[in-house]
Subunit: 348 residues, 2 copies
């Protein structure tokens, strides 16, 4: 039998519960410790998930435990110091999105990981959704021909402020929270982008940041994509947390509909493809596809560690996503078309 990898989870908040549920599914992984500044949260997680040891200090965690990896599902402001601690102890890291508050911080974290020669992956789960794995397969099959147009739309009126009240005060709000998922998906599906135009709106009153945005990307392969997303949308049924959209190529069109239904028109024929959720005991609607994707993301991280390869959403790869994010904010502020930073795509 494969040796079980020993991991720890730092941060036991709202979304971390999905991470803890996910790790509990792995035969080849053991979460040996949890850590949270809030002792009660850490203890509750340890009790629910049968985890041996509890820490309120990450410093103490790393000094005490022998770890094969650490999962850091905390708010992004803590990512740089916590990842730095992990790197200092030679421990591979899977870091929750958003990566860091700005691109410069992302670059510093990547540089620190590379200096320590340890694996860093960003927990970017949208591209690990069953739906978008299937969409990517269809794109790769060539049935659509050369890609020309894509639209990814994510519009909801769900009360995100209830589970994550700090979002009211966040100055970089929806692009950082949701837009980054769509930017990563756009790279995953349509390839790298070389131009970014963005327009933001603040629709809800009493918040610090933007709660709606439209991003227009020009891709290296000539395709154009539109990403539109909003937390101020009143729809029924509310599609949360589904990404809807459409993809066109020279030979056909793929519609990404609600309920995990793809409609593919190519080569003169149309077919509907239902992409089901996994069957997990702990998932529940409307979160199911996100919860499933957390486990797929974790699986990719563990497999990458075991095989000694760079994860698809490594820190280094994610610099390209966050360069688009930075470009989107810069475009929204300046009204200019921005050409994002480019990073080498090959292993350094």
């Amino acid at each position: 039998m494969t040796t079980r990898l020993k991991g720890a989870v730092i941060g036991c908040g709202f979304f971390a519960q999905n991470h803890l549920h996910g790790w509990a599914e792995f035969d080849d992984v053991e979460i040996v410790a949890v850590c949270d500044l809030d002792d009660a949260k850490a203890k509750a997680a340890a009790e629910i998930f049968g985890i041996a040891r509890v820490y309120t200090s990450a410093q103490a965690l790393f000094e005490t435990e022998v770890l094969d990896f650490v999962d850091i599902p905390t708010t992004m402001e803590m990512h740089e110091p916590l990842a730095g601690l992990a790197f200092a102890h030679g421990v591979p890291v899977i870091l929750q999105k958003p990566f860091a508050p700005d691109l410069d911080a992302c670059k510093r974290i990547v540089a620190a990981a590379e200096a320590a020669n340890v694996t860093l992956m960003i927990h970017e789960d949208f591209r690990f959704q069953n739906l978008f794995r299937k969409v990517r397969d269809i794109v790769d099959s060539g049935e659509l021909g050369r890609l020309t147009f894509g639209r990814l739309s994510w519009r909801t009126g769900i009360n995100v402020y209830a589970n994550q009240p700090y979002l009211v005060h966040v100055k970089r709000f929806i692009i950082m929270d949701v837009g980054v998922h769509l930017l990563d998906l756009a790279r995953f599906l349509f390839g790298e982008a070389n131009s970014v135009f963005c327009r933001t709106q603040q629709i809800k009153t009493g918040i610090a940041g933007e709660d709606a945005a439209i991003v227009l990307l020009g891709h290296d392969n000539g395709a154009t994509s539109i990403l539109d997303f909003s937390y101020a949308t009143k729809r029924d049924p509310d599609p949360f947390p589904q990404t809807l959209g459409e993809i066109e190529g020279t030979d056909g069109t793929l519609i990404i509909g609600a309920g995990g239904t793809l409609t593919l028109h190519a080569n003169g024929a149309t077919r509907t493809i239902a992409v089901p959720h996994d069957c997990r005991g702990w998932t529940s609607e409307p979160w199911t596809q996100i919860q499933d994707s957390v486990v797929h993301t974790q699986r990719h991280f563990i497999d990458s560690l075991r095989r000694g390869i760079e994860p698809a959403t490594s820190g280094r790869d994610s610099l390209a996503t966050y360069a688009l994010l930075e470009a989107a904010y810069l475009s929204a502020a300046s009204g200019a078309l921005i050409h994002p930073d480019r990073f080498p795509r090959e292993p350094a």
Copy 2:
């Protein structure tokens, strides 16, 4: 009984057939002459529609006939000289879209109409579709609240080059052909725009202009709209010539679906509104909604003439639409956000 207005139609080509069918419905209008450089086309139209006189020279037409108006459904390159002739004879004009090859030409035509003190209306028919009259009623009702977001989408793979072969050679292609309809609709539904960003693509090979484009508008009321349109889209069913889309406000969302179906979610309730076509003997799918709108557009022109008021899509009003078009081409060429020319909205 109301005096019948005597009109002439100059240009008897592909789309002009719809104009001729439309005029034939009017009890209070008589088309007394048709004119086309191609004698056979003019004669065929006269025969089919029982029109008394045929001309191959517009000069001769205006020198001979006593006209209350002239309808000019020719290609845009002929609009300036033909409208000029009409103005010189004091004859009101309804001019087919696109208005003119560029904004400067539009301005010259408007100036000439104003100098001659005659009515000039652009035959902009999309806003006269039953569907968009209803959409505008819903917007005006306030049910959606303050408008925040709009998307108008027009994507098809229909072979436009078959009926209008000259389109292969047109350098300003789809924005001029279809985009201008969506720009006018965007003004009609979301209000005036103060910023334009545009990205164009040439997808089909062997054509001179752009056959796909995305335009992002910032409106004076704070709303953002996306207009996306393509002649290189393979869908089934092909939605041609329908405009699909969505409109969001602070209180709800309106989905503009296929088949003239609106879905309105507002005030916690959702209702579906079917907007039927008119029942005309001469219309046929897929053109029905366009053909209906031609008659509504003509009706508005005649009513404006009779009441002595400025038509909604007067030449002067249309300068604002063509300023957006000019801004879109400029943005696509330069990669810059363009602030379009502003025109006084009040009567001069």
